[in-house]
């Protein structure tokens, strides 16, 4: 459709952004680590490749990520189905809550998890130090990606297709396997790729719930760099991590590249309806129960902890946040922390949406290998260790303008992680938009630009809203880049939580601050949901 030249122009912006803020810093730090004195440090490579410890870590990193992804998709699909197809009381609120885990600091979640399934478990289940604690935590964190990612697509799939098949005599499972699954395949693959990358580079969850036997390459890179000051070995491990991620992304690109089924997307309002039969109510109820156990219980533990005070339940932890009882006013107030957090989140969402959309347009319109390569490279920041990117910024971004300690770098770093979300949510929708729709518009004399604006854009907006929500959550919850560059006076909520957890005695306040963080994300998700609802009637 689009001319090659205009595609190049559109692609130039994301390419330059990614080149300057990702490829260039990562190559520079890898070079610094691996070629310390003008000579390549082959010993670090051979150490990384021959050490049985490293091999064990690499193997564990891979299989726990695959297993986490499978589990998250298996649990997320029925929940996505219920949200897409049924209307029931509390639906928007519950769906908004699924986004909350995504932003919570792992230390806070770790404490909640250990309270539920640790040594003092009220259910008598002690999963501490087992792989299950890690897998469950990954499901807890990433479930929203599947629920929202697949759900956003599912809720626009015409249920009449399935009805027709059933009328023709196909059983439920056969309908799912032969009709629904192929239609959802691009969306499921997209979400699975994101979940995989998050689990593959898991850091906080592993540190809090893992032990010496269960550790990922991401943790090992950090440990080698910071505890042993072995930049050469850290860089060699980072190369190993990058190779692993690239191989899996190429496989994913191959799977994705099989022609996507084109279908007419429907507005969600026409797809969802109230459950009618007892069976349908049972499906809805049992699915929501599962959601409650995995997502709501740990959140409830945190709320309960935030209300626990030496004198029974009360609001004193919250009161202390606004009005610190001690003379040393060391903590940023919640209102300031919220303002600071939003000051980073809003530009991060704008950058990620803009650049992600441009990139998605190129990926869908261009064909063949160049599109696949571009797509793969865009996903890489999610699969690259934070240490590599962070140190990369430090060694690379001092010329021509010194950005290394610039406040501008915070939303840029957040956008780097969020862009894959924008690309992955918009590409499946863009691909599924019937060519017929656009061709019809062209026959009627509309210019390609007008066809894009009036036909594609409203559908894409809905997908973009989901991606923007994740971009917002990524920025709001991010800690590493923000804590380094944010001044004490511009501390965000996660930075404030970290400080409160840094000493004995202010645990309750840290829990209260975490609940405030939960509330902000839930409110933002509800808000975007409302916007999405009013826009969706127009197609």
């Amino acid at each position: 459709m689009r001319s090659k030249r205009s595609l190049l122009l559109i692609g130039a912006i994301p390419a330059v952004f990614l080149g300057y803020f990702f490829i260039y810093p990562v190559l520079t730090i890898l070079y610094t680590g691996l070629v310390p004195d003008g000579q390549i440090a082959t010993s670090a490579f051979s150490e990384a490749l021959t050490s049985p410890t490293v091999r064990g870590i690499a193997w564990f990193t891979l299989w726990q990520a695959l297993l986490s992804t499978l589990l998250t998709v298996a649990i997320g699909l029925p929940i996505a189905y219920v949200f897409a197809r049924y209307r029931f009381p509390g639906r928007s609120l519950l769906r908004s809550l699924t986004l909350v885990p995504f932003v919570l600091p792992t230390i806070v979640v770790g404490v909640a998890f250990l309270a539920l399934v640790g040594p003092g478990s009220p259910f008598g289940v002690n999963l501490r130090g087992t792989i299950w604690a890690i897998l469950i935590a990954h499901v807890f964190y990433n479930l929203a990606i599947v629920i929202r990612g697949v759900g956003a697509f599912w809720e626009q799939v015409d249920p009449h297709l399935e009805d027709a098949a059933r009328i023709l005599g196909a059983g439920r499972f056969r309908v799912f396997r032969t009709i629904t699954l192929p239609l959802l395949r691009p969306a499921i693959l997209s979400s699975a790729a994101l979940v995989f990358l998050f689990s593959f580079t898991s850091f906080g969850v592993i540190l809090v719930l893992g032990d010496l036997r269960h550790t990922t390459l991401e943790v090992e890179i950090w440990r080698q760099a910071t505890a042993f000051l072995r930049l050469d070995l850290a860089a060699a491990l980072a190369v190993l991590q990058l190779i692993g991620v690239t191989v899996l992304l190429v496989l994913y690109g191959k799977a994705r590249n099989r022609r996507a089924a084109e279908l007419t997307l429907r507005p969600p309002s026409e797809v969802a309806r109230a459950p009618r039969t007892t069976g349908e109510w049972a499906v809805v109820a049992s699915t929501l129960c599962m959601l409650a156990i995995i997502v709501v219980t740990p959140l409830a533990v945190l709320i309960w902890r935030s209300l626990s005070t030496p004198d029974g339940l009360g609001l004193s932890n919250y009161a202390h946040l606004f009005n610190p009882p001690r003379a040393t006013a060391v903590f940023v107030s919640p209102t300031d922390a919220i303002t600071n957090t939003l000051q980073f989140a809003v530009p991060a969402v704008l950058i990620a949406s803009g650049i992600g959309l441009l990139a998605a347009t190129v990926i869908v319109s261009a064909s063949g290998r160049s599109s696949r390569v571009f797509d793969t490279v865009l996903m890489l920041p999610l699969g690259t260790s934070a240490v590599t990117i962070g140190f990369g910024f430090l060694v690379a971004l001092d010329q021509p303008i010194d950005l290394r300690a610039s406040i501008l770098l915070v939303p840029v770093a957040h956008a780097l992680v969020a862009i894959p979300f924008v690309v992955r949510s918009t590409v499946p929708v863009m691909e599924s938009i019937q060519h017929r729709l656009r061709e019809a518009a062209a026959v009627l004399g509309a210019s390609p630009r007008r066809a894009w604006r009036e036909v594609d854009l409203p559908l894409i907006t809905r997908a973009l809203a989901v991606a923007a929500m994740f971009a917002f959550a990524i920025s709001v919850g991010e800690f590493g880049a923000t804590s380094f560059i944010a001044r004490p006076a511009t501390a965000t909520i996660p930075v404030a939580i970290f400080r409160l957890l840094g000493r004995p005695g202010t645990f309750g306040e840290a829990m209260a601050m975490s609940v405030i963080l939960m509330a902000i994300v839930a409110v933002a998700a509800l808000g975007i949901e409302a916007v999405r609802g009013t826009r969706s009637g127009g197609v």
Binding site: I29, T32, I107, G110, V111, L114, A115, G118, P119, G120, L207, V208, G210, D211, L212, R213, R223, A225, T226, A227, F228, L229, L231, R305, P310, R326, A327, T328, A329, V330, V387, F391, L394, V395, D398, D402, R404, A405, F479, G480, S483, F484, I485, R487, P488, F498, R499, L501, G502, R503, P504, G505, T506, F507, G508
Partner: protein, 346 residues
């Protein structure tokens, strides 16, 4: 006419010269790089700005190891002027990397000899002791007395009651490992490896960070866990009193086998504001900043003239003979010790 022109020219040159000179002596800002535990009261760093006219910008790394790496990576074109918070476990490496310009605070004499290092690379700013903290109530409920030494914790009577941090991911964890190496030694009948073997047999819990150990596993004070002994700081009981309405500390410490962490400040080589950086190091050791340290970071000021807050005077226990270790010895052996430790606990 000519004379006027000349005098104008001279004035211009003088003005430009003065402008240049003043831009050299008063930079726009002085940047202080430190770790994530750094906290300072409002108005304290502003006092430095009032004195010198230069605002202080703070860059905080998540942890000390990351901070040292960041400083090393940006050595040739530093992002900060002064590094504060590097402790004796990382100091040798930083000095070996030529990270610092030679300077010791003009007021260095206020710090006791025991905190200073040979050479003039860095100035001690604060110190604290990593000690085993105890929950007396939890121990009493089990009919146990307070353990008095590190060795007691390997006694089967205390099975399953102790939680420590992983020395490869946590700074108090490393301090505790170094304390055991110093107390039990590397050779002899009962070296540190044998002690750790007994700790493992006694079901010690190893967690990655202080937060999980203290809040997640420790049963005393604000801890929410089940174990009455944890590796924390000598001042943790003080913080417990300070942040609660209690009039006695709910936790106590074992005075045996505490490890002294000393934190230093140094001027990063490559700074373009050396003289201001020197003033900042002096300021960090002067009373205004020093007296603000205890209640924000729960460590002791290096300046002996600094007045301690009442809660420190009343509730802080300063171990009589803390373990100290030469930074060079730590640097030389750290990797080997960590590797050996890993084989014992795996």
């Amino acid at each position: 006419m000519k004379g006027l022109r000349l005098s104008v020219a001279v004035t211009v040159v003088a003005l430009v010269g003065a402008a240049c000179a003043s831009s050299e002596s008063t930079p726009d800002e002085v940047v202080l790089m430190t770790h994530g535990s750094f906290v300072v009261s409002e108005g304290v760093l502003e006092a430095f700005t009032d004195e010198t006219g230069v605002p202080v910008t703070v860059l905080q790394s998540a942890d000390a190891g990351t901070m040292v790496n960041q400083a090393i990576l940006t050595k040739d074109n530093p992002i900060a002027d002064v590094l504060y918070g590097i402790d004796n476990t990382f100091l040798s490496r930083a000095i070996a990397e030529d990270l610092f310009l030679p300077y010791q605070a003009a007021n260095i004499d206020v710090a006791p000899e025991s905190l200073r290092i040979s050479g003039d690379q860095v100035t001690p700013i604060d110190y604290g002791d990593v000690c085993v903290n105890l929950d007396p109530v939890g121990l009493e409920d089990r009919g146990l007395g307070l353990p008095e030494s590190l060795a007691d914790l390997a006694d089967p009577a205390y099975r399953g009651l102790f939680v420590v941090e992983d020395p490869s991911t946590s700074s108090p964890g490393l301090a505790f490992l170094l304390a055991t190496i110093s107390v039990f030694g590397e050779e002899g009948e009962y070296p540190w490896q044998a002690y750790w073997g007994d700790l493992m047999a006694n079901e010690v819990q190893i967690v990655p960070g202080w937060e999980q150990a203290y809040y997640g596993d420790f049963s005393g004070g604000s801890g929410e866990g089940e174990r009455p002994a944890v590796v924390s700081y000598a001042t943790s009981p003080v913080a417990e009193v300070y942040y609660s309405d209690l009039d006695a500390a709910p936790t106590s410490i074992i005075e045996d086998g505490c490890f002294r962490q000393i934190e230093y400040a140094g001027i990063l080589s490559g700074t373009e504001a050396e003289s201001t950086a020197q003033l900042l190091v002096d300021f960090l050791l002067a009373r205004t900043f020093q007296e603000d340290i205890p209640l924000n970071m729960f460590v002791f000021p290096a300046n002996e003239d600094a007045a301690l807050p009442d809660v420190f005077v009343e509730y802080a226990t300063v171990p009589a003979n803390p373990v100290t270790m030469d930074p060079a010895a730590i640097e030389e052996n750290r990797d080997r010790w960590l590797a050996e430790w890993a084989t014992i606990v795996r």
